[in-house]
């Protein structure tokens, strides 16, 4: 095949694989935003807190899966504590108040993580090499890193599982009901606090997975907090309340930033990967503010 086209596919694939992880981070936001109408400023801090704790447990000598299990448990506890000490006391308060509270939560998590585990950058070795998979290269001529591929697949499975939980299970139904109206959900006996614990714990686990996938590539460090910023254009493009929206938007952002870097970047002297997604988001804000699958707010009087 034409090497030009092969190269295009290689860039596209790399972008899509990175994109699934943006979807994953954005999904954490969407879950929480839908269920508790809170813009969770602490999502990035949760990513950092989760993966740093995971690496910390490994350093203490726990085997991989045990460390994973313990960290998942820890994130569930963080979810429960958030419900108990942040959401419950602030129930019925304005959305802005809750946003402020999550900013506070972000500082608490970042501080706590560094206090307990220290501030130095850690390496996270998942045992998957960041080198091209030869049989794929041989068969198709496309070079794709094993780490990228595994990360993309894990993220894709995670997204699929969440989408199924959301649409097919009882707790998913409860979650969507709560998202549509706290009062109405309470009036039929759906326990709000239980749903909140569920979404915050889920968002914590999503954060852990995202942190592990990114940490394996870039090292486990404070910069992971900023990763959550990548979710912002994804949220704007996908729509804050749409699960399928952010999944597709993550892919678009991932693919377009890599393609833009390679094909348009040279005209700007490179480095546009960092801001291209935001440009795209601004375009969406101007022409389609409700996002891709715009769940328009239903108002019928």
């Amino acid at each position: 095949m034409n090497p030009e086209i092969l190269f295009f596919f290689e860039v596209l694939l790399g972008g899509l694989l990175a994109g699934v992880m943006y979807s994953l981070v954005a999904l954490g936001f969407v879950l929480i935003y839908k269920a508790s109408s809170v813009f969770n400023f602490a999502q990035g801090a949760m990513v950092f807190f989760a993966v740093l704790s995971f690496v910390g447990f490994m350093e203490l000598g726990l085997p991989f899966f045990l460390a994973l299990l313990v960290t998942v448990g820890l994130m569930v506890l963080v979810g429960m504590a958030t419900e108990r000490f942040v959401l419950r006391p602030l129930v019925n308060q304005h959305e802005d108040t809750l946003l402020m509270a999550t900013i506070g939560l972000a500082f608490v998590l970042e501080g706590l993580a560094q206090l307990v585990w220290g501030v130095e950058v850690r390496r996270l070795d998942l045992g998957i090499p960041d080198v091209p998979i030869m049989w794929i290269a041989d068969a198709t001529g496309i070079f794709v890193s094993a780490l990228d591929l595994v990360a993309g697949l894990v993220a894709a499975v995670m997204v699929a599982v969440l989408a199924i939980v959301f649409s097919r299970t009882k707790v998913g139904l409860g979650l969507r009901a709560v998202a549509d109206g706290h009062g109405a959900a309470m009036s039929i006996g759906i326990p709000l606090s239980q749903v909140w614990v569920f979404v915050w714990a889920t968002a914590g686990i999503v954060a852990l997975v995202a942190g592990m996938l990114w940490g394996a590539r870039a090292g486990v460090q404070f910069a992971l907090v900023g990763l959550a910023l990548k979710a912002l254009p994804v949220l704007i493009i996908g729509g804050f309340t749409s699960v399928p929206g952010v999944i597709v938007a993550g892919l678009i952002v991932g693919a377009s930033e890599k393609l833009a870097e390679v094909y348009i970047g040279p005209y700007f002297g490179g480095g546009i990967e960092g801001w291209a997604p935001y440009m795209l988001a601004v375009l969406f804000l101007m022409f389609r503010p409700e996002g891709l699958f715009g769940e328009r707010i239903i108002r019928r009087v």
């Binding site: 139904l173 969507r176 549509d180 009062g183 006996g189």
Partner: protein, 282 residues
């Protein structure tokens, strides 16, 4: 003789069994300062329909929310008096606990889950019950039997159905919890007269066939008194008058102030309250 008349007579002479709900002298307060109910007492006999009447801001919704404890979700609380449901004191419980005991409130403004389908709304109503898939199907069929229109619209997004269908969805959803008692807050709000009649017929059906006791808050006094056995009239957080529905409907003051009729019996539209208000959310 109409059905309403026989039922009213029955209830008036009704047995002195323990009421399913009894509210004794409650005060309700929002934000710790706004005292809205100033000593409300009422009873709902098992199996009856009781109407709670009164104008805007009289405290009807607050009374229902005090009973269902939903008032706690609006920074309010019952600060005095007591509420007993099925013999148990309930004023300090949670809405979820009350749903479990068999009391469900259908809130004012027919709060459906707008992005869920009609059927998902109904299924959500059974959230507190541990049911198998097959049992849920049976329960859905039971509810659809009362609301055939909902069965037709089962896959529509609730937010895009008509006002009447949304009200039916809200009532049907409450029925999925298999309640012994429903608290209905202004089921007629914003609906055309024939839809109001349709909904009240269904409510009466539920009352007769399922044996659900009903306490309904209404500004539409005429319709409420037509279907209820007994009525209370609330004004500024106090019960001003109560009695069998037929007696209230015949009462001169009620006719003048709440039914908009002059004393010679003619309907004076000029004085009539506007029932079809703009929808308010909470």
């Amino acid at each position: 003789m109409t059905m309403t008349a026989t039922r009213t007579a029955e209830a008036a002479a009704g047995p002195a069994a323990q009421p399913i709900l009894s509210v004794r002298n409650i005060e309700a307060i929002y934000d710790n300062v706004i005292l809205v109910l100033r000593g409300v007492s009422l009873e709902v006999p098992e199996g009856s329909i009781v109407a709670l009447l009164g104008g805007n801001g009289a405290g009807k919704s607050t009374t229902l929310k005090s009973i269902s404890t939903m008032i706690t979700a609006e920074r309010g609380r019952v600060s005095k008096g007591s509420i007993h449901f099925r013999g148990e004191r309930t004023d300090q419980l949670t809405p979820g606990a009350l749903v479990g005991m068999g009391m469900v409130q259908v809130m004012e403004g027919r709060m459906c889950f707008g992005h869920l389908t009609v059927e998902e709304n109904l299924v959500a109503g059974a959230y507190t019950r541990k049911l198998s898939k097959a049992q849920i199907r049976d329960e859905l069929e039971r509810v659809y039997a009362y609301f055939p229109r909902l069965k037709e619209r089962r896959t529509s997004q609730a937010g895009y159905t008509s006002g009447g269908e949304q009200q039916m969805t809200a009532i049907g959803r409450a029925m999925m919890a298999k309640p012994r008692m429903l608290l209905l807050d202004e089921p007629s709000m914003g609906l055309a007269p024939q839809i109001v009649a349709e909904i009240f017929e269904i409510v009466r059906d539920l009352n007769e066939k399922e044996g659900v006791s009903i306490l309904l808050a209404e500004q539409n006094t005429a319709v409420a008194l037509k279907y209820a056995n007994y009525g209370y009239i609330l004004e500024s957080g106090r019960i001003m008058m109560d009695g069998p529905a037929a007696d209230l409907a015949a009462n001169k003051d009620v006719r003048e102030f709440y039914l908009g009729m002059s004393s010679d019996g003619r309907d004076s539209f000029r004085n009539r309250k506007s029932y079809r208000r703009k929808k308010r959310w909470i």
